[in-house]
């Protein structure tokens, strides 16, 4: 598996001029999978999705086919919501798919809605993606005109409406229940689960929520067949995955890989590794919410279970590489400040925990901290995890906890140097900072 070029299911024609138009998309075989799916029964489509082993690409990695099967049968109003609120720091794969190949997503949504029996669908796209939302809107108009969206699609009896809904800038709206509240016109506060959205989601109805990349993969599954798709990747992480590589690498960008290749091949092979003469200090394997790994972990196979076993997670597939010249305190501070800003404030451990973590990091930098503060900070992280309605707090606690565990000596050195009065305002007490990329 490793070595051979990964099949490009999502990115194959991505830079083709005009791919965002229906004409070019159809010339490339587009909407063929939809016709194939509509010729089958919804149960058969669902069976293909389950056979593919496709796991959600948004962060949690839950089996998509299983999620569809959780929706109750019957003729009540059911909804499909595409989560396009891509806000996880380091992630920019959905932006690429929506901006360049919008019809692929629309086709995936129609097929998934057919399998789930959903009659109304929404794409919740983050408000910052202005251009991508416009591209989706015009693609949607084309799809409507061609009869792919609307009543009795291609004579199948299945009807579907689709609305592109623009968010207004809130990380928490990427959390599925926060997203639903936001889509209902409220503040994006996460809800208590259960009930899960599959039973009670949008407007209290059964709702299927999937990430852009997950839904964009559905047409390829219908084309290849679920069993054939499952042969890609490794047993528990099937298929290909878009990986967004950023930070200290020579060629940041989106790469489509087969799950299970060594992380080294992605970071050094595809993205070119850190600039000349620098080495990897640590890397986030799945967005800023994932516990950091170090240079010693570069040979871990990049798939859901291998990363979980290594104490981290695949998350959204965003690799952020940090080189050795960057103080770990800077990385921790950026991470913690982000979550403090984005915490919705509903649950105390998250609201207070993110705030106090930032304050304690600032104490370290200003020379007011003692090594005991590291213990307190680590215990704050432990008390956040699992104690809130959603995982935003955990998303800060996990990487910060891992940084304290893996770079304790550096933190202690920083505390000591700052305390001895090299002081704040000069260089913050850390080693000299060499910023800037290749």
């Amino acid at each position: 598996m490793a070595g051979a070029a990964a099949p490009q299911l999502l990115l194959s024609d991505i830079d083709e001029p005009g791919l965002a138009t229906r004409e070019v998309y159809e010339r490339r075989g587009g909407y063929g999978s939809l016709r194939r799916a509509l010729a089958m029964t919804p149960e058969e489509v669902l069976a293909e999705l389950e056979a593919s082993g496709l796991r959600g690409r948004g962060g949690a990695g839950f089996a998509m086919g299983k999620k569809v099967s959780f929706l109750p049968k019957g003729s009540m109003d059911k909804y499909l919501v595409c989560n396009a609120d891509e806000s996880e720091p380091g992630t920019f794969k959905d932006r690429e798919l929506m901006g360049k190949n919008p019809h692929l997503l629309i086709e995936g949504i129609i097929i998934a809605s057919y399998a789930a029996g959903a009659g109304r669908s929404f794409i919740y796209i983050r408000g910052e993606y202005v251009m991508q939302a416009d591209v989706l809107d015009s693609a949607l108009a084309e799809a409507r005109e061609a009869g792919y969206i609307g009543q009795d699609i291609l004579g199948s009896g299945h009807s579907l409406s689709l609305v592109v809904h623009r968010g207004a800038g809130a990380y928490i709206c990427g959390e599925e229940t926060g997203l639903l509240d936001s889509l209902e016109g409220k503040r994006g506060n996460p809800r208590l689960k259960p009930p899960f959205p599959a039973n009670q989601g949008l407007y209290q109805g059964p709702t299927l929520i999937n990430n852009v990349e997950t839904l964009s993969t559905v047409p390829a599954i219908m084309r290849l067949g679920g069993a054939e798709y499952a042969k890609l990747g490794v047993a528990t992480s099937t298929g290909t995955k878009l990986v967004s590589v950023s930070g200290h690498v020579r060629r940041p960008g989106n790469y489509e890989i087969e799950l299970g290749i060594p992380a080294r091949e992605i970071i050094y092979g595809l993205a070119g590794g850190p600039p000349e003469g620098r080495r990897v200090k640590c890397w986030f394997p799945g967005g800023s919410s994932s516990p950091v790994l170090t240079a010693a972990d570069l040979d871990i196979p990049y798939d859901f279970d291998s990363l979980a076993k290594a104490g981290s997670m695949l998350g959204s597939g965003a690799i952020i590489v940090v080189d050795e010249d960057t103080p770990i305190l800077d990385v921790a501070m950026k991470t913690a400040k982000f979550y403090r800003h984005e915490s919705c404030g509903k649950c105390t451990p998250c609201r207070e925990g993110t705030n106090w973590t930032v304050r304690m990091l600032e104490r370290i930098d200003s020379g007011e901290a003692t090594p005991m503060d590291l213990e307190i900070m680590a215990s704050v992280q432990e008390h956040i995890i699992g104690n809130c309605l959603c995982v935003l707090g955990d998303a800060m606690a996990m990487p910060i906890g891992s940084m304290i565990a893996k770079f304790r000596e550096e933190f202690e050195g920083h505390i000591e140097r700052a305390r001895l009065g090299r002081g704040p305002g000069e260089d913050g007490g850390g080693p000299p900072t060499e910023r800037g990329g290749a």
Partner: protein, 209 residues
């Protein structure tokens, strides 16, 4: 201006504002746009974000007047709309410049010099009340880091020396740094998506197993 109830006490003697009456003057184009959004959803309340966004586009920020107009069309209380507007980063609850420059200062961008870029943009804008310069959380364009979103157009990678030109482009009403716009970027280096990558990595790739 700080929101009432936080830094300044709320006036508890005052009755909450009711839903504004049908006689509230609302510009025809705004009313039509909000009504079109409401028609998209089974529940009209779902149109809150698009409606506030439309009102902000017209008024420059979610001013009391803008809120009242949205409330009148959507039949919601102003307090409800204010509570929603205050939750979202892109809805402004105090007056700001017409042009927005969001500089991403999250991890990936800051590893590549976003903090310096932000300072440079602030300095280039020189406090111009017409330009709203903000440090923003991850904008989802780490491949062109460090970057900024200028009136919704993504540009990058930028260096601090690009800042004056950026502000010039905004003031002149020109296309923003056309050669650096994200729309022009191919998905990745064409060589990068093949396995024939040049051997100039700092460490040669090793293969496990």
């Amino acid at each position: 201006m700080s929101p009432l109830g936080w830094d300044a006490p709320a006036d508890l003697e005052k009755d909450p504002a009711p839903i504004p009456g049908a006689d509230t003057p609302v510009p025809e184009s705004l009313r039509a746009e909000i009504e079109a959004h409401m028609a998209n959803y089974p529940d009209r309340r779902s149109a809150t974000l698009p409606a506030l966004e439309a009102a902000q586009r017209l008024h420059g920020w979610c001013s009391p007047e803008a809120i009242e107009q949205v409330a009148a069309v959507m039949r919601l209380t102003p307090a409800y709309l204010e509570s929603v507007a205050s939750f979202y980063d892109m809805l402004e609850t105090s007056p700001v410049g017409r042009h927005s420059v969001y500089v991403c200062t999250n991890i990936s961008c800051s590893l590549r010099g976003a903090d310096e870029l932000y300072e440079a943009v602030l300095e280039a804008a020189g406090g111009d009340p017409d330009i709203n310069v903000r440090a923003f959380e991850c904008l989802g364009a780490c491949d062109i880091a460090p970057m900024a979103s200028v009136d919704g157009v993504y540009v990058g990678p930028l260096s601090p020396s690009d800042a004056p030109g950026l502000i010039e482009d905004i003031r002149a009403g020109r296309a923003i740094a056309p050669e650096k716009q994200l729309a022009r970027r191919l998905v990745a280096d064409p060589r990068a998506n093949s396995r024939e990558f040049p051997e100039h990595a700092a460490e040669p790739p090793r293969r496990a197993g």
